[in-house]
Symmetry: C2
Subunit: 213 residues, 2 copies
């Protein structure tokens, strides 16, 4: 018997992959160089295949993927609407930062899933090339003009804050998912520790770019 | 020995597929319904696989895909910049109309290509589902509000005009490609007939939607 929390988790993950696919494909069009455009298109295509795999798993478990995704459409769209930007570098940073935080979160949650679902979750979270891409492009940009670092650091903080805020909206609307989260975390103290681990992971990724978190 | 015209043709086709992929993936994000979002994402992913196949053929023939695409980046980007719109229906119509005209054009050109390249061109031109999608959504919208038909008919005419205008830019910059075009058409009279066939194909597609061309 699959718990509703697992369906929620997969639904959120599936819609996250779909939005990520569309977001990266849109970013690709804005790439200043054809080469970067092509690299990002490839990353987007990988995200699409992840989306299909998560939907297939939901179907296998006897659930309708669209229904499973529906509760997460509004909060995820809101997140992207709040973080919309025309800046190429902010968009590059966003993919790296948001995917990193999401991956850390799902990786911890996957420890409470059945083996097959957990292995799928770990598979679709695997880096599709966005880390190497973002790190090299952002480092180059900072080397070329150190002033951009301050603006990007601020953007990274806003991203983290906005993700926590939307996650809170989701948690309060999906009690089953919230219960799973509490199970994964353990006690109230452990919840703080869990959130701290996410913050540390975020800081580490910003640090790789030479940005303050 | 592969003629430079064939490399140009494949380069233009490859970049066209890449832009199409990114354009449809961006459209998907704007879909009012999750179901439409998912259908468009699937069409976009098919366009990406077409892009990869054309690049692979260029590599097989001994050419660098990026170099082959480069001459077509500016005119295709200009086309999309000129036809940028926030209207969901105009975007849906654009995919259907522009892909249709491009497919008619490449299909005629393919008669002068080697068999393997021609069969690849025909394969990547195959409808990825965009016709059925566009026709049903636009018909529904017109049935719901007949006033949109006038605006969409105008948009369809602008699309055709803008494509001819950018094609002229490309033709004057790529003499080898222009020569192949003249060979395919035959005589000067035949060129007029070729363009007329494209116009007739466009009118037929607009007609399917109940729109004047």
């Amino acid at each position: 018997m699959t718990s509703l929390a697992v369906v929620d988790l997969l639904g959120a993950l599936a819609y996250g992959e779909l939005v990520s696919f569309e977001r990266i494909a849109s970013d690709a069009r804005l790439a200043p160089e054809l080469e970067d455009n092509i690299v990002l298109a490839g990353i987007a295509a990988t995200e699409y295949s992840h989306f299909v795999q998560v939907c297939d798993r939901l179907t296998q478990l006897g659930f309708d993927p669209n229904q499973a995704m529906e509760p997460f459409v509004a909060p995820l769209n809101q997140f992207h609407a709040n973080m919309s930007t025309d800046s190429w570098l902010e968009r590059v940073l966003m993919v790296y930062v948001a995917d990193g935080i999401a991956a850390d979160f799902y990786r911890e949650m996957s420890t409470h899933l059945d083996e097959q679902t957990a292995s799928l979750v770990l598979h679709v979270l695997a880096d599709a090339g966005q880390t190497e891409f973002a790190v090299s492009r952002i480092r180059d940009a900072i080397a070329h003009d150190p002033k951009v670092a301050g603006r990007l650091a601020l953007w990274g903080r806003r991203l983290m804050g906005e993700m926590i805020s939307q996650a809170t909206v989701v948690a309060s609307a999906r009690p089953e998912l919230q219960k799973l989260f509490f199970q994964v975390a353990g006690s109230a103290d452990e919840i703080t520790a869990f959130v701290n681990r996410l913050t540390v992971g975020h800081a580490r990724r910003m640090d790789v770019l030479g940005l303050a978190s």
